[in-house]
């Protein structure tokens, strides 16, 4: 479920983890499609991450503004790390 911090909603890498990748702990950010500051709709693809060479699209959990990208392109991250923050609105 989406973590909240203040008014912001986390884009949580754990939310999109494929069921068959339970034994994998790390991922890699391939591409960001939304820019910081952009208005995004709930469900809109924000970025693509790679988990064991499988591409996974990460949707926006809520409508709002993409306030901060925490894991930029080429970044490696752990399962459950926050990829970005959205200010709902």
């Amino acid at each position: 479920m989406s973590e909240m911090a203040g008014d912001r909603v986390a884009v949580d890498s754990g939310d999109v983890w494929p069921a068959d990748a339970d034994d994998i702990a790390e991922g890699y950010v391939a591409t960001w499609f939304a820019r910081e500051g952009a208005a995004v709709e709930a469900g809109e693809t924000l970025c693509e991450i790679q988990i064991e060479k499988v591409g996974v699209d990460v949707p926006a959990p809520v409508e709002g503004r993409l306030a901060e990208i925490v894991a930029p392109e080429d970044a490696e991250f752990e399962r459950g790390d926050v990829l970005a923050w959205i200010e709902p609105g």
């Binding site: 391939a30 591409t31 499609f33 939304a34 952009a38 790679q50």
Partner: protein
């Protein structure tokens, strides 16, 4: 609908796309608006295209309109030609341009010539979409660009996008064209997780549809000292070279051809009239190809404007598998930079 030849009239939003997603967006839009548009090729359905050129289409359109085919290029390219002649608008994917050899008769003698041979009795509104290029150690039979091979023979339009923005507009135009279009996309530009693209091909892409006319080259960087004419991946390498040259006060213009057939001679000649120096950069073989053709056209029309010409291309050898050898034969930004300096020193 806007014509985005110059980008005017279309507001780029805050959304960026990779080149593969921009191509798919154009294809799915065309498939929604015209039931005669369908996709056929090896691994285009369940796999979504091995370079993501058809990713997600099966889910929306089903197997009637997104068809995996057996490994028989002659039969499925030929089936595309037949469907097109019957009024459909097939998008047929040839997985690698290198494989054209096994279906050469269907491409060269049927797709490209049937309109002519029938005296205009049939047209062939087909898109032959195909992956080109190296940089990832796939060796001599899976790394060629073969631009010259396709642009050489009359009857086919030849499209080579270098950015997501261009890829979408050119794909819309390709599907709507009433004649066969060969749409050659460079694998390294697609934005695949396993084959990261350089900076540049991922661009803002409007969600609305727009077309980019064929035969309209794009000046990707303006400059006054030398004209660099190129296409595909090497647009980005030329831009890198231009940036490096600018640090030394050398101002290079970079022209992205976007289509080889038709060829926008006017943009090239206007630029050469300004700079006097023409450098052509190609990832295809040096001999009998794009570099020689562009320089010949400039010489025919504007010989007096030319102070120097240079060409940068793959020396006439098969593309090596070994990473360092492949890097050595494929033109890099440093090769473009050296050629521009050489043209200016001449």
């Amino acid at each position: 609908m806007a014509d985005a030849e110059t980008g005017a009239g279309v507001e780029a939003g805050e959304r960026d796309l990779t080149m593969s997603r921009a191509m798919v967006e154009a294809i799915e839009t065309e498939m929604r608006s015209d039931e005669d548009v369908f996709v056929m090729g090896e691994d285009v359905a369940d796999y979504g295209g091995i370079f993501d050129s058809t990713e997600g289409l099966l889910e929306e359109f089903g197997r009637e309109r997104v068809m995996d085919v057996p490994i028989s290029e002659t039969s499925f390219v030929g089936a595309g030609v037949g469907a097109a002649q019957q009024g459909m608008r097939p998008i047929v994917e040839l997985m690698f341009a290198d494989f054209f050899g096994v279906c050469m008769d269907q491409i060269y003698n049927q797709m490209a010539k049937n309109t002519y041979m029938s005296g205009g009795g049939v047209s062939v509104p087909m898109v032959l979409m195909t992956a080109v290029g190296g940089t990832y150690s796939d060796a001599a039979q899976h790394s060629q660009t073969l631009y010259g091979t396709f642009a050489h023979l009359p009857g086919m339009k030849v499209v080579v996008p270098s950015t997501a923005y261009d890829a979408k507009g050119l794909m819309h135009n390709a599907v709507r064209d009433d004649d066969p279009v060969v749409y050659m996309f460079h694998k390294r530009l697609m934005g695949l997780g396993w084959m990261p693209a350089p900076e540049g091909p991922k661009t803002a892409v409007p969600e609305d549809e727009y077309t980019i006319s064929f035969g309209s080259a794009d000046v990707k960087r303006e400059g006054s000292d030398a004209t660099v004419v190129t296409l595909g991946l090497h647009v980005h390498r030329a831009l890198d070279a231009a940036e490096s040259l600018a640090e030394d006060g050398v101002d290079a213009e970079v022209i992205d051809l976007r289509t080889l057939v038709p060829l926008d001679e006017e943009t090239i000649l206007d630029s050469v009239a300004k700079t006097g120096r023409l450098v052509v950069v190609d990832e295809d073989y040096r001999s009998f190809g794009v570099t020689g053709e562009i320089i010949a056209r400039a010489a025919e029309s504007s010989l007096g404007d030319l102070e120097a010409v240079e060409r940068v291309a793959v020396p006439d050898v098969p593309i090596p598998y070994a990473r360092e050898l492949e890097r050595a034969v494929l033109p890099g930004a440093e090769d473009v930079e050296a050629a521009v300096r050489s043209a200016i020193d001449e």
